[in-house]
């Protein structure tokens, strides 16, 4: 039979005394002015059963009073908070952290073994100059992205709520308004999350919360790279009160940024890289892990330009959230010219198409600017037409520009011209 170690005072040297508890931020609460009570040897540690100093405080208005449940030695062995037994760095259960970092420290669980072990561990900890985390955690490790993704970004104060009023559950609560316990429906007893055991949670064995988190991680959406290799734009969501400079500061490490556009109305931003692999790297690293200013940003690929509603709109890298209805009265999308019309700009098909079919295939390549300097940019089309004309019909006089034929073709729609939409992403070689 086990006698309480508190009443057995012969091993009093083993009792722990502490100055300040080891706690996580959520357990401490949101109020910076906490009053904490200290009681020496107030309770037994829930894991090693040795008497230790308990600290008790109120984590905020309408919260229950919390107290330390395990002793400092046990909390240092696993690097967890003394009250909630979650990891101090990430706020995740021990099982999740150990699996992600592949830590296989074994702490004995049997009665005598456990006492011997904690005794020695405490003696060692008292000797070392600078406090080190115990065991495999002390090895320098790269930041695990699994843990980064699973960790919360804001404190979760629902943990500090008062317990459910058991009288209310039976319908008998006479305290009514002033009852400090929660008057809510209790959690479903069939739910596996309601069978939690402090020992299991501490040792990282058979923890239902950890299992739920790990299965949730496996089902996290994975980022697919778009097949269209020309897309180098990332769509960033949840951009609230984040400015362009902050985004640049983060994304410059992956490669040269071509442009950053912030759209406050949609609370999103578009980051376009010059190189495709830079964008891929950025997406891989930032997907579901990027946190700027305390806000977790969603990272997705931007849609390729061919999925755009209208052509000829440069500057945004070709990504739009909403499809707008076509405005009446505006010219609609100009259809691409048929193959025949690709070179036949002036409706000379009847005379020259038959002879020029073979020639036209070669002349659709990129033409040097015409020798005649264009008077101004507005006249560019006409000067280009001269150039075309000189290639296809050296003999005949260039007729005035006419777009009255069916199947209007603008030179800017010519797919081989620089500045047309499809080649937008390949500017850097």
């Amino acid at each position: 039979m086990s006698i309480s170690l508190l009443s057995n005072t012969y091993n009093r040297q083993n009792w722990e005394d502490a100055e300040f508890p080891i706690l996580c931020q959520t357990c401490l609460g949101d109020n910076p002015y906490i009053r904490m009570m200290k009681e020496r040897y107030g309770q037994e540690c829930k894991i090693c059963n040795r008497p230790f100093t308990i600290f008790r405080w109120c984590p905020g208005a309408r919260m229950r009073f919390k107290k330390t449940e395990i002793c400092q030695t046990c909390s240092k062995l696993k690097n967890v908070c003394q009250t909630c037994l979650l990891d101090l760095e990430f706020g995740l259960p021990v099982q999740v952290r150990d699996e992600a970092l592949q830590i296989t420290d074994t702490i004995p669980k049997g009665q005598v073994n456990k006492e011997y072990f904690t005794q020695n561990a405490e003696a060692e900890m008292a000797l070392e100059q600078t406090p080190q985390p115990y065991g495999q955690l002390a090895k320098a490790q790269p930041p695990s992205d699994v843990l980064m993704k699973l960790a919360r970004s804001a404190p979760y104060y629902k943990r500090n709520q008062p317990h459910i009023c058991s009288f209310y559950v039976k319908g008998e609560c006479k305290r009514g308004e002033e009852c400090p316990y929660r008057h809510e429906k209790p959690t479903d007893p069939d739910d596996p999350l309601s069978n939690q055991n402090i020992r299991d949670r501490f040792y990282g064995v058979n923890d239902p919360v950890a299992e739920k988190l790990l299965s949730r991680y496996k089902e996290l959406p994975q980022l697919e790279t778009p097949e269209d290799k020309t897309v180098t734009t990332l769509y960033i969501g949840n951009v609230v009160d984040i400015d362009e400079q902050q985004l640049r500061d983060h994304f410059y490490q992956y490669g040269e940024i071509r442009s950053v556009t912030v759209v406050p109305k949609q609370s999103c931003a578009f980051v376009q890289f010059t190189q495709r692999d830079a964008a891929e790297e950025a997406a891989k690293e930032s997907f579901n892990t990027l946190v700027i200013d305390g806000k977790r940003l969603t990272v997705k690929w931007g849609k390729p330009p061919s999925a755009q509603g209208s052509s000829g709109r440069p500057g945004e890298g070709g990504v739009f959230e909403t499809n707008y209805e076509p405005v009446p009265g505006l010219p609609t999308v100009v259809p691409m010219p048929s193959n025949e019309l690709k070179t036949d700009f002036f409706g000379l098909s009847s005379s020259s198409s038959s002879s020029n079919v073979g020639v036209s295939a070669t002349t659709t390549s990129f033409l040097p600017p015409p020798p005649m300097p264009p008077p101004d940019l507005g006249d560019y089309t006409s000067s280009l037409s001269y150039g075309h004309m000189s290639m296809t019909n050296p003999s005949s006089m260039p007729p005035p520009l006419s777009s009255l034929r069916t199947g209007v073709h603008y030179p800017s729609q010519d797919p081989s011209r620089v500045g047309s939409t499809a080649s937008h992403g390949k500017a850097n070689e």
């Binding site: 009053r35 009570m37 208005a61 006479k174 305290r175 308004e177």
Partner: protein
């Protein structure tokens, strides 16, 4: 049963006017002492005792200081016989403590951080809509 008298002398004049009320209060106190504890919290069982004690002292205090219907002799006699609590009445004479519920609620040694009871906090300073019944005497706020 008649209440035990601490002196052999007869009570001073005016006693007959207040005796019936005092007898009623006495009876109430006896009822509260004998009440069963079922359905009540452990601390809640004592609340009626403190309440009636306050009421008795209040009656004596009112008669002498407020309504001035009894003379000093009778007042001193009541205090001597412990009908009214002398220390509680002494607090009521102080500014801010006029409605003090009981002496336990101003004792700092009874609290964790050496403060007064929550019922001593004025309602404006307390967060909105919070109903408090102090654990000592069930008071819902006795400041101001």
């Amino acid at each position: 049963m008649v209440k035990v008298r601490k002196t052999s002398k007869p009570p001073p004049d005016g006693w007959d006017l207040i005796e019936p009320t005092l007898d009623e209060l006495e009876a109430k106190m006896r009822e509260a002492e004998l009440a069963p504890h079922d359905g009540k919290r452990k601390v809640e069982t004592l609340w009626p005792i403190f309440k009636i004690h306050h009421q008795k002292s209040r009656y004596i205090y009112d008669l002498y200081y407020k309504r001035k219907t009894i003379n000093k002799e009778l007042y001193d006699y009541c205090l001597k016989q412990s009908i009214g609590d002398k220390n509680l009445i002494a607090q009521w004479k102080k500014q801010g403590y006029e409605n003090l519920c009981c002496l336990r609620c101003i004792q700092p040694r009874d609290t964790n951080f050496n403060k007064k009871c929550i019922c001593r906090v004025p309602k404006e300073k307390l967060e909105e809509g919070k109903v408090v019944e102090c654990v000592h005497c069930g008071c819902r706020g006795c400041s101001g």
